[in-house]
């Protein structure tokens, strides 16, 4: 099952630099090649492993491409109805306050049908972590327009490009969440380069740590490609993301220690 000119000198346990976390199952993920969902799953698993909290975590999968997240993360998980993950998480955390509770949600899930649950769980300051994969599209259902689809961007329900006057503006839900008093740490990251992956992982780790300290809602937006929905190769898609999504959804921390980061 392995390849490469095996260099047995180097390939030894003591020389290990990186290996897929044991908190990931061996199931091959159903995601399209190059999809950022996989990367984000991976780093969540790594954070859980590093914090040594596998026993203490309950994750909520959304309805969206990542609906099967529970097949890949080796932790107890629930699969929520479309958009409702923060409601589940609210109850779980309040009923089991010593656990780490996180939701993993797409942009359709979190910013369209789930808007109310997102806003109110943040406003209540629920002590949960939301990992929000923003790929500007409804991946799972075949590439329909999401609330986060950029102006002019094509999708199967905006085949001539998103026309703001008819279809509304792209929604920066994360900025709304940051403005609510119940959110404590809000950041926007990406997973297309090693540096960005590292930052995102750090953000997720910070979020979990703050959750332990009962600081209120922690919210990590992850910009990610949906190469299938965008109809590009993964590498093209990442490039497109940098050029088109980053200007509208700039990366960086938005709220730290309960305070908006001034820009």
């Amino acid at each position: 099952m392995e390849t490469g000119t095996v260099n047995s000198d180097i390939i030894r346990e003591e020389n290990l630099v990186y290996r897929k976390s044991r908190v990931l199952t061996d199931n091959i993920m159903h995601y399209c090649p190059g999809c950022g969902h996989g990367t984000t799953h991976r780093i969540i698993a790594e954070v859980i492993e590093e914090l040594d909290i596998q026993e203490e975590v309950i994750g909520i999968a959304p309805v969206g491409c990542s609906v099967l997240a529970y097949n890949y993360l080796d932790i107890d998980m629930q699969e929520a109805a479309h958009g409702r993950a923060p409601a589940l998480a609210t109850a779980i955390k309040r009923l089991m306050p010593s656990k780490y509770v996180f939701t993993y949600q797409g942009d359709g899930d979190l910013a369209a049908i789930g808007t109310s649950e997102t806003i109110h769980s943040a406003n209540r300051g629920e002590n949960i972590t939301i990992v929000f994969i923003n790929n500007g599209i409804y991946g799972m259902t075949g590439g329909q327009m999401a609330p986060t689809t950029l102006e002019g961007m094509k999708s199967s329900t905006s085949p001539y490009g998103r026309e703001v006057s008819l279809m509304g503006h792209p929604l920066k839900i994360t900025d709304l969440v940051a403005r609510l008093p119940g959110s404590y740490f809000v950041t926007r990251q990406a997973v297309h380069t090693p540096a960005n992956v590292r930052k995102t992982k750090k953000a997720i780790r910070t979020a979990f740590e703050l959750q332990r300290e009962k600081k209120g809602m922690t919210f990590v937006e992850v910009l990610s490609n949906c190469n299938s929905g965008w109809k590009m190769t993964p590498v093209q898609a990442n490039k497109w993301m940098v050029e088109n999504m980053f200007p509208f959804f700039p990366l960086g921390d938005i709220k730290v220690n309960g305070e908006l980061v001034s820009k």
Binding site: C32, P33, C65, G139, G142, S228
Partner: protein, 185 residues
């Protein structure tokens, strides 16, 4: 006359559109048609198959468990659909990627090296049209002119300049199909 056909292969092989053109051709000659895909959760890749029925009468079930014809384009589909061809029916396959060739003796078996041919003539995108041509040479259910009409109908206008290539591919299919096991009538 009713012809019940399954076309099966990988996602990107044009299985669904081959079925669509066939169905449209049927419409062009006033037949009843149905085209029933199996749709799955996969976004990209995976297997795909479509049941196409052409008939002079109202079509009953669009979903079937046995077929007059199976057009098979990969190994998984061979495993799944070889047994479903009705005795005396037709199995047409592209040998590319096929490890276990069909073995039934009670059906007509034809082979078409469409993949290879498509590469050869530089029309890889319409490899499926070669297969279609092969099928129609064995079972001329629809007239060639109706296939072309069907093609026009099922292609958006902006692709109509590709019709000559498609035509060529179909004709090529007529030529390269080879019998493997042909029953006596």
């Amino acid at each position: 006359m009713t012809e019940e056909i399954i076309i099966a292969g990988f996602g990107g092989q044009g299985v669904l559109s081959m079925g669509k053109i066939l169905a449209y051709s049927g419409i062009m000659q006033d037949q009843e048609v149905s085209w029933m895909p199996s749709y799955g959760p996969e976004m990209r890749g995976g297997t795909a198959n479509v049941t196409v029925i052409l008939s002079d009468e109202r079509i009953s079930s669009p979903i079937l468990t046995s077929y007059d014809t199976a057009i098979i384009l990969n190994q998984q589909s061979m495993d799944k659909f070889e047994p479903t061809v009705k005795p005396g029916g037709l199995l047409l396959y592209d040998p590319n990627g096929i490890l276990r060739h069909p073995e039934r003796k009670d059906i007509n078996i034809y082979r078409i090296n469409a993949n290879q041919e498509a590469v050869r003539i530089g029309l890889t995108k319409i490899f499926n049209m070669i297969v279609l041509g092969g099928f129609l040479s064995i079972k001329p259910l629809v007239k060639f002119e109706n296939v072309i009409l069907g093609l026009k109908k099922s292609l958006p206008d902006r692709y109509h300049h590709l019709i000559p290539d498609n035509e060529k591919a179909i004709r090529r299919g007529f030529e390269i199909v080879e019998p493997v096991n042909v029953l006596n009538r």
